[in-house]
C-alpha cells in the first residue's frame, strides 16, 4: 500500500472533506460570494465602477480565501473531532492536499468565475443603459470596462491571497480554538513589529522620517525639502523573490509539516 498518496483514497478523503461539513464549505463559500455581490453593488452606487471592482476583488479573493482557509483544519476545536481527523486512514500528504485543493485552487477558480460573471453583468447593464445617440456615448462607454485579471491590482491581490490564505491555513493548525481571530492577531502583531522596527531603524539612520515601508522606501525631510530613498534595485529584487515566492510557499508548506508533527 502506498502510504503517501493513493488516488482512490484521496478521492474518498476529498469527498468526505466536502460533504462532511457542507454548511461550512458550501455555505461559507455561498455567503462570501453573496457578500461580495452586495459590496460590488453598494460600492458601485456610492463610488463608481473602479472602486467597486477593486474592493470586491480584494475582499472576495484575499478575504474570502483567508476566511475559508481557516476552516480547512478546524477539526481541532474539539478533542473528539481532532482525534477523528488525525486517526482517519489517509496520509498527511492527502489531508494537506485536500485542504490546499479546496482553499488554494477550487475557491479561487470559483471566485474568479463568479467575479467575471458578476462584473460582466454589471458592466453590460451599464453599457446597455447608455444612450447610443448621445455624443458622449463613446467616452462613457469606454469609461467602464471589465476588471483585468492580469492587471497590476489583480497581481497584487493574488499575492495577498496566497499570503493571507497560507497564514490562515498555518494558523488553524497552531491554534485549536478561535484560530481565525488568533491568526489575524498574530498577523497584525507581526506587521506592527515589522513597520515599527523599520521606522525605528529609519529614524536612527536618517533622523526626521515622514514615512517608511519595510524593504521598500523611506521618506525623509531635509531642511525644508522632502525626499524619498528607495531600496537599491538589486536589493529590492531579492526582497521581491522572498515576498512573492518564498513566504507564500513557506506559509503553504508549514501546514504539511505541522500536520505531520501535530499531537492532539
Amino acid at each position: 500500500m502506498n502510504n503517501t498518496f493513493n488516488a482512490r483514497r484521496f478521492g474518498f478523503l476529498f469527498r468526505k472533506t466536502l460533504l462532511e461539513r457542507p454548511v461550512q464549505i458550501f455555505g461559507l463559500t455561498g455567503l462570501i460570494l453573496t457578500i461580495i455581490l452586495m459590496i460590488y453593488f453598494i460600492c458601485k452606487v456610492f463610488f463608481g465602477f473602479g472602486p467597486a471592482q477593486n474592493i470586491s476583488f480584494i475582499w472576495g479573493l484575499a478575504g474570502g480565501g483567508c476566511f475559508l482557509g481557516s476552516f480547512m483544519f478546524s477539526y481541532f476545536n474539539s478533542n473528539a473531532s481532532g482525534s477523528s481527523y488525525l486517526t482517519l486512514p489517509a496520509s498527511v500528504f492527502e489531508k494537506w492536499l485536500s485542504a490546499i485543493l479546496i482553499a488554494g485552487i477550487l475557491y479561487p477558480l470559483l471566485f474568479l468565475l463568479f467575479f467575471r460573471a458578476m462584473d460582466a453583468g454589471f458592466v453590460a447593464l451599464y453599457h446597455r443603459g447608455l444612450d447610443a445617440t448621445s455624443p458622449l456615448y463613446k467616452i462613457r462607454y469606454d469609461q467602464v470596462y471589465l476588471f483585468s485579471y492580469t492587471g497590476q491590482i489583480a497581481q497584487k491581490v493574488y499575492l495577498i491571497f496566497f499570503m493571507f490564505t497560507g497564514a490562515a491555513l498555518t494558523g488553524s493548525l497552531y491554534f485549536n480554538k478561535n484560530n481565525f481571530i488568533k491568526t489575524a492577531l498574530v498577523f497584525c502583531v507581526v506587521c506592527v513589529l515589522a513597520f515599527g522596527l523599520n521606522w525605528l531603524m529609519a529614524v536612527m539612520v536618517f533622523g526626521e522620517v515622514r514615512d517608511a515601508a519595510p524593504f521598500h522606501y523611506v521618506e525623509v525631510t531635509v531642511g525644508t525639502g522632502e525626499g524619498e530613498i528607495n531600496l537599491p534595485q538589486s536589493a529590492f529584487d531579492i526582497y521581491g523573490i522572498f515576498g512573492d515566492y518564498f513566504f507564500p510557499v513557506l506559509l503553504w508548506s508549514i501546514p504539511f509539516i505541522r500536520l505531520r508533527e501535530k499531537e492532539f
Binding site: N3, L13, E20, N79, S84, F264
Partner: protein, 290 residues
C-alpha cells in the same frame, strides 16, 4: 515487516511521556500486549489511561522509548497502520450526517468494513435512524460510534471510557456485543475507571498509577494469586491487601497462599493494588519489563 504467525503485538519499550517535561506521566514503561485478549486498563483519574491510548494510536508521541504496533510506528500515522486500529475516544465526534451518509463517507477508509454487521450492531445497541447524528443524545452518538468501530473490523480496538454516557441496558448490550465480536486475531483494549462495567468482559488486567505499571496479569492468574472473600473477622491483618466492610461481613483481598478458589472482584483488586503497590508487585512479580 513480516510475521510468521498472525499474532498481533503491541510492544511498548521504556516509554516516557508527560505533558510537562518536569512531571512525566509514564517513566520507563515496558509492556507487551498480544492479540486474542480483551485488556482492561484500570487507573485513577489522571493516571494517564487516555494518554496511553493516544500514544498507541499516534495522537501523542512518546518523549522517550518506543511503541510498535504490529511493526508500525504509530507516530507516523501511516494509512496502512490507521486502517488496522480504531480509537473510540471518551467524547465522540459525529458530523451533521445521517447514518447512511456517515457510512458512505467514512467506511471506504476501512477495507474490513462490514455493512451488514454494522446494521446488526446498530440494532443490537438499539440505535435508530432518526435523522442527523449530531441531533442524537450523547449516549446514542456513542453507541453509533461503537457500532461503526466494531463494523470496521480493525485488528486493534481501543476504547476509552466506553460506558460513560451509556444507560444500564446499553452497558449490558455493550458488554454482550464486545464478547460477541471478539476473535483470537483481535485485540481489544478498554480503558476505564468504571471498573464494574468490565466485570466478566476482560481477560487481562493492567493497572497503572503514577506513571508506573502496578499489575499486568490475566484474570486467571489474579484468581490464582489472590483470594477475594468475605470474612467475619480478620485474624492476620498483615495478609490483607484490601478490606471493605459490608452488610455480610468484611470483604477482603488477601494473598492466595492455600489455593482457594474465588471470583475476582475488579473493584477490590484495583483498590488492593493501588493501596499496596509494592506488595502487589511482589505477589505478581511485576517487573519493569512486563
Amino acid at each position: 515487516m513480516y510475521y510468521l504467525t498472525n499474532t498481533l503485538m503491541i510492544q511498548i519499550q521504556h516509554l516516557s511521556f508527560g505533558y510537562n517535561k518536569k512531571k512525566l506521566l509514564y517513566k520507563d514503561l515496558t509492556l507487551t500486549l498480544q492479540s486474542g485478549s480483551i485488556y482492561g486498563l484500570l487507573g485513577k483519574n489522571g493516571a494517564g489511561k487516555s494518554t496511553l491510548l493516544k500514544n498507541l494510536v499516534g495522537l501523542l508521541f512518546p518523549k522517550g522509548g518506543s511503541i510498535e504496533v504490529n511493526g508500525f510506528d504509530p507516530r507516523k500515522r501511516q494509512p496502512s497502520f490507521l486502517e488496522t486500529i480504531y480509537l473510540i475516544p471518551e467524547e465522540v465526534y459525529v458530523p451533521a450526517l445521517t447514518i447512511d451518509g456517515y457510512q458512505r463517507l467514512f467506511s471506504p477508509f476501512y477495507p474490513g468494513f462490514d455493512s451488514a454487521k454494522f446494521t446488526s450492531y446498530l440494532e443490537q445497541l438499539d440505535v435508530k435512524d432518526e435523522g442527523k447524528l449530531n441531533t442524537l443524545s450523547f449516549g446514542q452518538q456513542k453507541k453509533f460510534i461503537i457500532a461503526f468501530a466494531l463494523a470496521c473490523n480493525t485488528k486493534v480496538l481501543l476504547l476509552d471510557e466506553p460506558t460513560n454516557g451509556l444507560d444500564i441496558p446499553s452497558k449490558m448490550r455493550f458488554r454482550k456485543l464486545i464478547s460477541g465480536i471478539f476473535t483470537e486475531d483481535r485485540m481489544i483494549f478498554i480503558s476505564t475507571h468504571q471498573i464494574r462495567d468490565l466485570d466478566n468482559l476482560i481477560d487481562r488486567v493492567i493497572i497503572v498509577d503514577e506513571g508506573e505499571l502496578l499489575l499486568h496479569a490475566s484474570v486467571g492468574m489474579i484468581a490464582e494469586k489472590l483470594c477475594f472473600k468475605t470474612v467475619n473477622e480478620i485474624r492476620d491483618p498483615a495478609d490483607i491487601l484490601y478490606k471493605e466492610e459490608s452488610l455480610r461481613g468484611i470483604s477482603v483481598v488477601i494473598e492466595n497462599k492455600h489455593g482457594e478458589e474465588s471470583k475476582v472482584n475488579l473493584e477490590h483488586l484495583f483498590n488492593a493494588v493501588t493501596e499496596n503497590p509494592e506488595k502487589a508487585k511482589a505477589i505478581f512479580q511485576t517487573r519493569k519489563n512486563s
